[in-house]
Structure formats: C-alpha cells, structure tokens
C-alpha cells in the first residue's frame, strides 16, 4: 500500500513540493561552502524570511513585491553573518548559532509587534505565490501530474539549480568563489579579496535561502508559525554536503530528503503513529549522511592503499 502510494504521481508531486524549501537552502549552503564558509545560519534565515514573507506580501498586497523585499532581507542577514565571520573573526558556527537564536526570539517579537499575534500569523492577510499548470506538459501522462500544478517557486527552485551551476562554473565570479574556497591564499596572492568574495557568497546564500523561507509561509503553507523552519536549514546543510556542494548534487540529495518529508506527511494521515512518522526526514538525513560519509571514507582508503 505504501509502495503504491510512493509511486503515484500525486506523491511525487508532493515530494517535489516538499523538496522546494530544502532545495533553496541547499543551494544557498552550496554557494557558501564553495567559498569556504559553512552557513549554519540557514535555519535562522529560513525562519526570519518565512515571517518577512508574510509581513511584506501583506504590506504591499503583492506576493511578488513581498518576495523581492524578503530576498533583500535574506541577503542582509547573509551579509551580517559575513560581517561577523570575516570582519570580526567570529567562529562561523557560533555566529550562526547566535543568528538562529536571534531568529527564534525576534520572529516572535516582530510578529507580536506587527500584528499582535502570538505564534501564528492568523490576523495577517498575506498573499501567497500561486500554483500554475504547465501547458503541454500537463497533458503528458504521469509526468504531467508530477510536474504540472506546482507552485511557481518550485519551478524557480529548479531553474535555480541550473543558474547556480552556470554561475559557479561559467562566470568569473564563480571561478573566484571556487578559488577562494579551495585555496584562499592563492586567491589573495593575485589580489582577489577573499573577504569580498565571501561577503558576496554569503549574501547570495542569504538571498537563495530567503526564497525557501518565503515559500514555507507563502506557498507550502499559507501562514507563518513559530519555528516553522523545523530543522530544514540543517537538513539542507547535510544535503549540500552530501551533494559535494555542487548544485546538481545538492538537488539530487534534496529530492531524497524532500521525498522523506512527503512520505511522512502522507503517513501521518494513516494508521501509523504520527510521532514516529515525523522522525522520517531526520532519520533519512542521519542515515544518508552516515552512508555517504562512509563510502567517501572507503574510497579514500582504497586510493591510499594498505
């Protein structure tokens, strides 16, 4: 019964939907990691921008304007992380933990100040990004049911995979990002400011994650709720690491985690205890990470020989 459910186009459609926020964040993580910084603040950025999305889309009464401003805000948080890590030499992990903490508190405070709501943005009249059907594709059996009738941001996330790939591998800036991440001293020795490159990378990282955040409250759900990022930022970190920090690798692993999320969403409606089903995405990540790292270790050991 479960197998049938998983192979159904409805399920795959839902999986793609669940993948979207993780994918945006995983791409964000990949760019940061390529420049040599672990962006653990993705969790906080997702949460912040999920709230901002609701607030700004309501303020402008336009989902697109709201998204735009949310993206700017996401970029700002990424820039702030960069400022602490690069200018003030704060440990990147601790700075991220701090930002995540601030996000926890500030989202509640801001929501309260803006709307008087506690925990859930019920009185904010936010606008969400709509779903669309894809002409022609929607008529293809199976594939149409999977791909069509998705949120526009889901399509954007897929396009982003390609754009980020081109950005990293076909543009001068991408070349410099990879150079800085791989050998910072080498980049510096030819006058590339590694700090500048990392500022740019983390800012872009923030912008990408903010699209994921917006989707959470303005597509995946229709409201903001406290703590709604629910560890997706951390899962994305694992996804990009397992994908070798390449956009395409990150995409494939994100699909796996999104699938696990979707399964857990479906199974919660069934007879299985929902608490155990909720463990699924996290367990998948943990086991996936273990298996991936293990195979990487074995591969290296084989190369080294005995």
């Amino acid at each position: 019964m479960i197998v049938d459910a998983i192979l159904s186009p409805e399920f795959l459609n839902a999986a793609l939907r669940a993948t979207t926020p993780i994918l945006f964040a995983a791409l964000a993580s990949a760019i940061a990691a390529k420049s040599g910084v672990i962006n653990m603040a993705l969790e906080g950025i997702l949460l912040f921008t999920a709230l901002f999305g609701v607030i700004f889309s309501s303020a402008f009464q336009s989902a697109w304007l709201g998204l735009l401003v949310t993206m700017v805000m996401g970029g700002l948080i990424g820039f702030l992380l960069a400022f602490f890590v690069l200018r003030l030499k704060t440990d990147a992990i601790l700075a991220a933990i701090a930002i995540n903490l601030i996000a926890d508190g500030a989202t509640i405070l801001i929501l309260l100040a803006v709307s008087g709501d506690r925990g859930i943005s019920s009185s904010i009249n936010s606008i969400i990004i709509p779903r669309i059907t894809l002409p022609i594709i929607e008529n293809i059996p199976f594939i149409g049911a999977v791909l069509s009738n998705q949120n526009i941001l889901t399509y954007v996330s897929l396009i982003m995979v390609v754009l980020v790939h081109i950005f990293l591998y076909k543009t001068p800036l991408g070349l410099q990002i990879r150079a800085v991440g791989e050998n910072k001293d080498a980049a510096e020795s030819v006058g590339i400011s590694s700090d500048k490159i990392r500022y740019i990378s983390l800012t872009i990282s923030g912008v990408l994650a903010s699209m994921g955040g917006f989707f959470l409250s303005g597509g995946y759900m229709t409201r903001f709720t406290t703590g709604m990022s629910a560890g997706r930022g951390f899962i994305a970190l694992a996804a990009s690491a397992m994908g070798g920090n390449t956009p395409i690798g990150s995409f494939l692993v994100s699909l796996l985690f999104g699938g696990a999320q979707a399964i857990s969403n479906i199974l919660q409606l069934g007879t299985l205890p929902h608490e155990l089903v909720q463990m699924l995405p996290y367990a998948t990540t943990l086991i996936g990470l273990g298996l991936y790292s293990y195979s990487k270790m074995k591969k290296r050991q084989r190369l080294t020989g005995k």
């Binding site: 653990m40 704060t90 933990i97 701090a98 903490l101 601030i102 560890g231 608490e275 990470l289």
Partner: protein, 355 residues
C-alpha cells in the same frame, strides 16, 4: 594577571553591556512602557524571595548543560546533541520513576543515573558515527535532537500519558522520587547542590586529572595528542559520553525537581543555552555557575517583564544571541589588544638593549 586575561574580562563585560543596550533599544522601539519594562527586567528578580528563588531554580539546569557542553567542546567536537540528551534524560527519568518502586533515598539517585545514561547514548551516537564513517558531527547531532523529540512525543502519548489529565502530560512521578525543596517559599531543590558539585567535579576533571589533561590536548591539537601517545579516539568518546551523561542528569534533575509530570512536547532549547554559557565561561566548568546565574537572572527578569508589561520574554533570546556574537568576535576590540601586546614587546626589547 596577564594582559590576555585582563583583556578577555574586559571584552566579555563590554559585550554583555552592548547586547543589553541593544535589547533596551528594542524595548524602546516596541513597548509603550519601556522604562518600566527595563526596570522589571533588571530588578524584577530582586523584588521578592520567590522571584530570586526563580533565578536559582532556572540556574540549575543551565549549570548541568553548561558543564556538559564545556566537556564535549573541549575535545573540539561541535556536538549539539546535548539538547536531545537533556530531553531524553527527562523522558527516561519519568519512565523509570513510574515503573520502579525503590526506597525513598535510592529512587531519585537511580532515576537520575539512568537519565544520565540515556543522555550519554544520545551524544555518543554522533560521535561513534563520526569515528565509523567520518560523517560531520554538527549535522548528525542536530538530527539526533529531532529524532529524540519525536520519539519522546511518541512515548509520551502512547505509554506515559495520563488520560485523566486535560493536556498531553504523563502520569505524576511518585513523590519519593521527586527532589525535595531546600528553601521554603521557593522551589529551589536539592538539585542545586548536585549542579554545583558537577561544576566542581567538572573543573577537577578538566584540569586536575589525567583524562582531563588528555582531553584538553586532544581538543587543542589532535595530531599532537596522537603523536604524544594519547588515544584520541578513546578520549573523544569519553568526553562525548561524559558530556551527554551530564546533560541527561540535568534533564532528569530538572524533571524530578521542577516538574512532577513529563510535559515536554517540544525542544526546550537547553542545548543552545549551553553554548552561550560555555562561551561566557570560556569552557571552564568552574566559571559555569556564574554564567548560568547571569543567564538565569536575565531569563527570570524577562519573564517578570513579560508578565507585567507588553514586552515578550523572547526578547532575551535576542540578547543571548547578541552576547554570543560579540563575545566570540575575536576582532572585537582587537586593535586595543594588539596595542597592548606590541607595547609589551617593545618594552622587553628596550630591556634587552638596555642590558
């Protein structure tokens, strides 16, 4: 006291002050009665014995988690599963207390020890996963927390739930197992002594024992430790095990001291609190009670403020984040530090030439 220590104290003090000032700024921006809110935040805990008691009560779990994470981080492993260890400690303590009948003195002790073991398992899993597969402890430990949370929710609603209670809570823990209150008029319980003992033992462990010495060397330079003949894998495992154990004990103590039923249906955030405490305590367990007191005071002040004014308690989460950001920002005030050191070097240079 050398210039480095002096500088560290100065910087920590300044960081806290700046973080507080920013928080006051937020209060002024959002509150209709900002002055009253700030007064409540800063002096609220001193206004009655019960309130000051709240500070001490809140400090107890923070000491456990601060010591626990100090020991785990000393191995230079960013293991964040302390959160889950604390949570599982509370759950297991409840389960054990409900399913055993032990004598009055022994029951809490056994319960807390079992809670500690449960906590140790939680932090040990990411550590073992790293040793066996080289997977990143940071991510795997974060996943552990969510796994523990949903597992605990499952056990709570399917096994421990008291159907007669209105909310989703467990049956009440027998009173023989609960930790007794030591100060009338407050809920300060015997766990306070336990926490202080853990801090002192933690200090002795880190700075006076052989394993502590091995642990510090391993954390500072793993290759050097291995070269010296230290079994770094064993030491890392011991530190993760011990740290998790202390987290688990903390969870057990908190449950038996402050709750009589298991009511935790979401993560309580003690794992993150531990980070700010170890940051302020500079990984030294003996400093942990002071940092814990500071944070507990701030927390209690914030909840008093929230009750009597229009500012939400979550304000202090922001304050905490700001403190971490500033305290660990190495370059913050670093120009001043470099000047101090350059002055010293020039002075010694002068001495040499004067000879």
């Amino acid at each position: 006291m050398n210039s480095n220590t002096k500088f560290n104290i100065l910087r920590t003090g300044l960081s806290i002050s700046i973080a507080l000032l920013i928080s006051f700024g937020i209060i002024f921006l959002t509150s209709k009665e900002p002055v009253n809110a700030i007064v409540q935040l800063l002096t609220g805990p001193l206004q009655s014995q019960r309130r000051f008691g709240n500070v001490i009560e809140a400090m107890i779990p923070l000491i456990f988690t601060g010591v626990g994470v100090s020991i785990m981080f000393a191995a230079n492993e960013i293991n964040l599963a302390g959160e889950g260890a604390f949570h599982l400690g509370g759950l297991v303590a409840t389960y054990f207390a409900l399913n055993t009948t032990l004598a009055a003195g022994i029951s809490p002790i056994m319960t807390i020890l079992i809670a500690g073991i449960a906590g140790a398992i939680v932090t040990l899993i990411p550590a073992i996963l790293k040793i066996k597969t080289e997977s990143d402890v940071l991510v795997s430990s974060l996943m552990m927390n969510y796994l523990v949370l949903y597992f605990a929710n499952y056990i709570l609603s399917n096994i421990l739930r008291d159907p007669k209670a209105g909310a989703v809570v467990s049956f009440a823990v027998p009173s023989v197992t609960q930790l007794s209150t030591i100060m009338p008029g407050t809920r300060i319980h015997i766990g306070l002594f336990l926490a202080l003992i853990v801090a002192i033992l933690g200090y002795i462990f880190m700075f006076k024992t052989k394993i502590g010495y091995e642990l510090r060397i391993t954390g500072e330079n793993r290759q050097f430790a291995r070269y010296s003949g230290i079994n770094v894998v064993k030491i890392t495992l011991i530190s993760q095990l011990l740290g998790g154990f202390i987290f688990g004990v903390g969870g057990g103590v908190e449950l038996l001291g402050m709750y009589n039923r298991f009511t935790w249906t979401s993560l309580l955030g003690y794992g993150w609190d531990a980070i700010i405490i170890t940051t302020l305590a500079k990984k030294n367990p003996i400093h942990v009670p002071f940092a814990a007191f500071f944070l507990a005071y701030l927390r209690t002040g914030a909840s008093i403020m929230a009750r009597s004014t229009d500012v939400a308690t979550e304000l202090v989460t922001i304050t905490q984040g700001l403190i971490i950001l500033l305290v660990v920002a190495e370059q913050f005030l670093s120009k001043y530090k470099h000047k101090m050191i350059a002055k010293e070097a020039k002075a010694t240079l002068g001495e040499k030439e004067g000879e």
